[in-house]
Amino acid sequence: MAYIALPQGVPGIRSLAMFRPETGRHLYDLAQVLLRGPSPLTPAERELIATHVSNRNNCTFCMSSHAAAARELFDDRRALVDCVIHNEPTPLLSDKMKALLSIAGKVQESGRLVTNEDVAEARKHGADDRAIHDTVLIAATFSMFNRYVDGLATLTPTDPKEYEAMGKRLATVGYVSPQPQNQ
């Protein structure tokens, strides 16, 4: 059970955005700009970074929902999402994304671990400043979302079908703040 009186039956981040719409609105705006706005990285690639960081933070809700979104967005290359989650090599993953996921993994531990060599490796495979910036900010942002969702012990659905539905919604509609609950 959640540590505070969140709306009943609403999972993860949605319950928090309904409890505190003042901050929730801006968090959804941030997610929409960061994961769907203009970027050298595709929405699928950005969802993959979100999935990787959430997996490393052991946040089941964020990992499962963003993995579902990434599968939808990668479409016929969807198998690569589970390879990344299980840390298995796959030819479906580009060298550029491999290098960016490695940077994201460092950021998940601490921003201070990212080295010039990590960045040079990403550049060698075609990542530009914007791609590196967006990778670092996505990894940092999910280091926030994961802590927010788990730190208040929000509801984490266990039925994979629920995440499939979330993934479809995130892939088509994107990030839309839920309506606050009537008090």
Partner: protein
């Protein structure tokens, strides 16, 4: 030197925010509500949580920038601020703040480190659900800001008095209309 070509001469988070205004906008609007909006936690208390988490993350820029702002609100000196962030349990702050900072320290490690005992202690000290929520979110937010600032290898002045001297102006400037070039 920063890992990407940021506008020159801007300390800490100001470089990335000037580099990418599209994401700076929701980040700053979020910080404004979280740290300066109407709240039963004072602005000083919220900046102290931000400073403490940034200290635990060893983020030089954030712990000093927010420490300077907290110092302004709390009207204390650098030594007193250092004592609060290095050992809050023995610092001259309320029992409620001590219990909230204990939650903040767990969030810094990972969301799952927060225990129901910690939350109960905060409630026993009079913390409301919104105060507990905001403590968790401020702590989580600084785990983001700290990683953003350090993950891009941004530069920051090493003289800590730079931040102390800017505390008042930064507190008055706020976050919503933040101009990274100032």
């Amino acid at each position: 030197m920063a890992h990407i070509a940021l506008p020159e001469g801007l300390p800490g988070i100001r470089g990335p925010m000037a580099f990418r205004p599209e994401t700076a906008k929701p980040l700053n609007e979020f910080a404004e509500i979280l740290l300066r909006g109407d709240n039963s936690l004072t602005r000083g208390e919220r900046e102290l949580i931000a400073t403490y988490v940034s200290y635990l993350n060893d983020c030089f820029f954030c712990q000093n920038a927010h420490g300077g702002i907290a110092q302004h609100y709390m009207q204390c000196d650098l030594e007193e601020m250092d004592r609060m962030k290095m050992d809050p349990e023995s610092a001259p702050i309320s029992d409620k703040m001590k219990s909230l900072l204990a939650i903040a320290a767990s969030v810094q490690k990972g969301g799952k480190y927060v225990t129901s005992q910690q939350v109960q202690r905060a409630k026993d000290c009079g913390a409301t659900d919104i105060e507990i929520h905001d403590t968790v979110l401020i702590s989580a937010a600084f785990c983001m800001f700290n990683r953003y600032v350090d993950g891009l290898g941004t530069d920051a002045p090493r003289d800590r008095m730079f931040y102390v001297n800017r505390g008042k102006a930064r507190a008055e400037e706020g976050y919503a209309n933040y101009n990274p070039y100032h």
